[in-house]
């Protein structure tokens, strides 16, 4: 069943939000993903695709109500997180799994020095005294390229890029086995983004940390990830290793995404956007959720839900074009 080489395995996971008066948002549907030791998986999708919800699902932090894990299992080091008690989960979070949240600027405490904030996490999860925790905090600051003697400064005394590095230092302070990073560089300028990505790659290699990197930027994925999962309206519609995704994308939505982005290395005259708009999350189209926008849609696409099909070893696509017995 579950593979020992994988640090985390997500099986048939579905997460819904039940919103009074509006209906059910199927934020994550039948998700199957795994991340190996030291591996980085990129989770890509546009607004509302279900990326953050997936991360909250792994952390067992989906707000309930309105959210609920309605189906599936999440194995972490061979054990199902969904059946863990709150006390067990608290131990895992921060110790073994840590998360960088989407809006990092709000995840720092403005009235605490950055050193104290890192030390606090260290103390919570490791048996160390206050002095040792501060020493560890200073070490972490150096690791993210901030001079240790600035540990007594407050967040507002740092630039945006430095604050983001502090957030990374906090997330890595306990040497987690899995780091979930939700759009960690989206708010940063490109030269600072380059600094931060460089740092994350470095630390990941040094500690052999596995990572789930959430982003909408296919450039960032090409830079950092080993594998990629593309999400659309709650579904992972394509999932494979990075090389295959960039050289042989198969799902019409993935192909549409590549057609939509200008590439600094190429001189395209015109973009090939995907037509239409994102669906209403409480009213996802029947059959394949992408069918109203899909240039390859067939009659059957509005009626039948595509299954996850392995078109080549390790290359999964959710599209009826690749299913047998579909005409």
């Amino acid at each position: 069943m579950e593979n020992n080489k994988n640090l985390i395995e997500i099986k048939d996971l579905s997460i819904h939000y039940i919103v009074e008066g509006e209906g059910t948002v199927r934020a994550v549907e039948d998700m199957n993903l795994e991340i190996g030791k030291g591996e980085t998986l990129g989770l890509v999708g546009e607004t509302g695709a279900g990326k953050t919800t997936t991360a909250l699902g792994i952390m067992q932090l989906v707000p309930n109500p309105p959210g609920k894990i309605v189906n599936g299992e999440i194995y972490f080091e061979g054990e199902n997180l969904i059946t863990k008690s709150p006390a067990e989960l608290r131990k895992i979070r921060g110790n073994k799994i840590s998360m960088i949240f989407q809006d990092p600027m709000t995840s720092l405490n403005p009235v605490m020095t950055v050193g104290e904030q890192i030390a606090e996490v260290v103390k919570l999860h490791q048996k160390v005294n206050a002095a040792q925790a501060i020493e560890r905090a200073k070490e972490m600051l150096e690791k993210v390229g901030i001079p240790a003697d600035r540990h007594k400064e407050y967040p507002h005394q740092f630039s945006g890029g430095m604050r983001q590095r502090v957030v990374i230092a906090i997330a890595l302070a306990c040497n987690p086995t899995l780091l979930i990073a939700d759009e960690p560089t989206t708010a940063l300028d490109v030269t600072i983004q380059a600094q931060v990505l460089d740092l994350m790659k470095h630390l990941k290699d040094e500690f052999n940390t596995s990572m789930l990197l959430i982003t909408h930027d296919l450039g960032v994925v090409a830079e950092v990830c080993d594998k990629v999962a593309i999400m659309y309206a709650g579904n992972v519609i394509e999932y494979t290793d990075k090389k295959r995704l960039y050289t042989e994308p198969r799902h019409p939505y993935t192909i549409g995404l590549f057609g939509s982005i200008p590439n600094a290395e190429e001189d395209e005259e015109r973009l090939n956007p995907i037509k239409g708009l994102m669906p209403d999350p409480t009213n996802i189209p029947s059959g394949c959720p992408f069918h109203p926008r899909c240039p390859k849609a067939m009659d059957v696409c509005s009626e039948r839900k595509p299954k996850n099909t392995e078109i080549e070893p390790g290359h999964f696509v959710k599209c009826l074009l690749f299913e047998e017995n579909v005409k």
Partner: protein, 323 residues
């Protein structure tokens, strides 16, 4: 010979702040030819939006000249400027914040027509609004909806329709697609391209996204801390960036491809404060080619041939720093 629509000379915009004079735009020079797109790129706070607003006189310049069709619009009276505004429009980044939430789609698009008393007849005005909605790809049925009922892409289409209402020659696009998802962003970029051709529009396109700027621009100006450090046609710039900052900036672009591997230049340190900046090159503290003179004398934007302009004391002669 290409005709110039707009030329900006020694443009300055300083803000007084508690800590001193903030040099948001400091001695900026550029021109834009008719029908062309000049891209303006640079990192947060380098002065892009301020430049765009000062050029339209939505903010008053501290100094300099803004020559639009051979006339310095900084010398214009209020009335003259009101006439001139019809020629010069702006589209903002955040379509939501820039649209009045209490006005319907048709009211928003009609507003500039109403304010400038373009139509006496209400039916003519509605016809024009319908035409504009059609031009930007907004379905007729949305005419009485409100911005909050619409998605970001449609809201941006409203902003574009409003900017087109008075048939301008020139539009400042201030991060028009930065808030949009990529699939919608591509639709809007294509729309703006079509409109430019159809109505012979000239654009100043402001963005921090270098891939987008490269895609839309004929020429690109790179800004750093209130100054233009490099200006040239997009091809030469991407092929062979000259200024050390442009080199670092272009090397940092994440490219959605696994075939190209770029040599990345990781910049040390952070952007310095724009308040009372000292004499000397503003990139000095982060430049790996800096020399003693760079800290004493401000490099001017100089013509280095082939319509390329660079502000660096050591263009074509960069050597690793000795200081």
């Amino acid at each position: 010979m290409q005709e110039r629509l707009l030329e900006v000379r020694n443009l300055k915009k300083y803000f007084s702040t508690k800590k001193g004079l903030l040099h948001a735009v400091d001695d900026v020079n550029f021109f834009i030819n008719k029908g062309e797109t000049l891209g303006l790129v640079g990192e947060s706070g380098c002065g892009k939006s301020t430049t765009g607003r000062v050029v339209l006189r939505l903010l008053e310049a501290t100094g300099g000249e803004i020559i639009f069709e051979d006339k310095d619009i900084l010398q214009f009276s209020k009335d003259e400027m009101r006439e001139m505004r019809k020629e010069m429009q702006i589209v903002f980044q955040d379509p939501f914040a820039s649209l009045n939430p209490r006005m319907s789609v048709s009211e928003i698009i009609a507003e500039p027509l109403r304010v400038n008393k373009i139509y006496k007849d209400k039916i003519d005005m509605s016809k024009r609004v319908a035409e504009l909605m059609d031009t930007v790809g907004l379905a007729e049925r949305l005419v009485n909806t409100y911005p909050h009922e619409l998605d970001g892409g449609r809201r941006q289409r409203i902003g574009i329709a409003r900017a087109l209402a008075l048939k301008p020659k020139f539009i400042v696009q201030d991060e028009p697609v930065s808030a949009l998802d990529v699939s919608i962003q591509a639709q809007i970029l294509n729309l703006m391209d079509d409109l430019q051709k159809e109505f012979s529009l000239t654009y100043l396109f402001i963005s921090h996204d270098l891939s987008v700027v490269k895609h839309v621009s004929d020429r690109i100006a790179v800004m750093y801390l209130g100054k233009i450090v490099e200006l040239s046609d997009y091809k030469s710039m991407f092929k062979e960036p000259k200024h050390p900052y442009t080199q670092a900036l272009l090397s940092a672009i994440p490219v959605p491809s696994i075939e190209v591997k770029r040599e990345r230049i990781i910049l040390e340190g952070d952007v310095p404060s724009p308040i009372n900046p000292p004499e000397g090159c503003r990139f000095y503290g982060r430049c790996r080619y800096r020399q003693p003179i760079c800290n004493e004398k401000t490099p001017e934007l100089e013509d280095i041939g082939n319509d390329r302009f660079v502000a660096c004391h050591f263009t074509n002669n960069l050597k690793e720093a000795t200081v």
